[in-house]
Amino acid sequence: MTTPDPLVKTLTAAQIAAFERCAAEVLGRPDDPTIHTDEDLAREAGIAGPPIASGMVTVAFLNEYLEARFGPAWHESGHLSVAFVAPTRAGETVTVDATETGRRTTDDGEVVSLDVWCANEHGQRATVGSADVRLPGGSS
């Protein structure tokens, strides 16, 4: 398993709306407005400027990066813990990256720990946290 390059995503308003729609589809209510898709609701909530993405969009980006880095092990044993410390807005280019902070051996395999983040094109980290994953057989 190799360390991938940082994942780079450009976020559009259409993408943010599509994410909200498909998440709400779970309930059969894909057209329900949210602060992420409805300008009036956003304004009412005091959010000005380009639409902000749900924090779950950056979680999806982190999942993509971590799956690329660790393969199926990520979705079978991954643990992610993040804080949303700044908004991620339509029009921004998001870079997803991580640094390894430690490894330990357990009875079930090797556990790798990382610091993870999503940053905008100005280098501001909007989503920050940590991740752990168990690698069966200790391969990495």
């Binding site: 993408q15 729609r21 602060i35 999942n63 813990s81």
Partner: protein, 132 residues
């Protein structure tokens, strides 16, 4: 019928209504398009269940994700029926801001765990968006 949400009256430990849905090819395709990841799984849709579980019981109020923690166990596949259950796990006030913590656990039709989540919502905290 939904109840008005009151942070003060929200009870830690309250079990929320369960939610079930089928993973379809259409939902998976939509998710992959929205995340521009042609190999994405449905796993983060499952993670957003916290909001649906909470606001299915209460009248929705303004809230913002402050923190998110997830434990993944299994990738759901098309045809799986996912059931999510959740509870209000905690609430607290810090620096004048009100936080509500919701925990969810999603399983498939065999009872296997797909993922668990612990989400911290900033209730009515618009300033946390632009002021963060």
């Amino acid at each position: 019928m939904k109840r008005p949400f009151s942070f003060e009256e929200a009870e830690v430990g309250e079990e929320l209504r369960a939610l079930s849905y089928e993973v379809t090819a259409g939902k998976l395709d939509a998710f992959r398009a929205a995340t521009t990841n042609p190999r994405a799984s449905m796993i983060t849709i499952a993670a957003k269940e916290y909001a649906y579980l909470l606001w299915a019981v209460y009248e929705e109020v303004m809230s913002i994700n402050a923190k998110h923690e997830a434990w993944y166990s299994k990738v759901p596949t098309v045809g799986d029926v996912i059931t999510a259950r959740g509870r209000i796990a905690d609430k607290y006030v810090r620096r004048g801001r009100r936080y509500l913590v919701v925990e969810t656990r999603s399983t498939d039709q065999t009872g296997d765990e797909i993922c668990r989540n612990r989400v911290t919502l900033l209730i009515g905290g618009v300033d946390a968006v632009d002021g963060a």
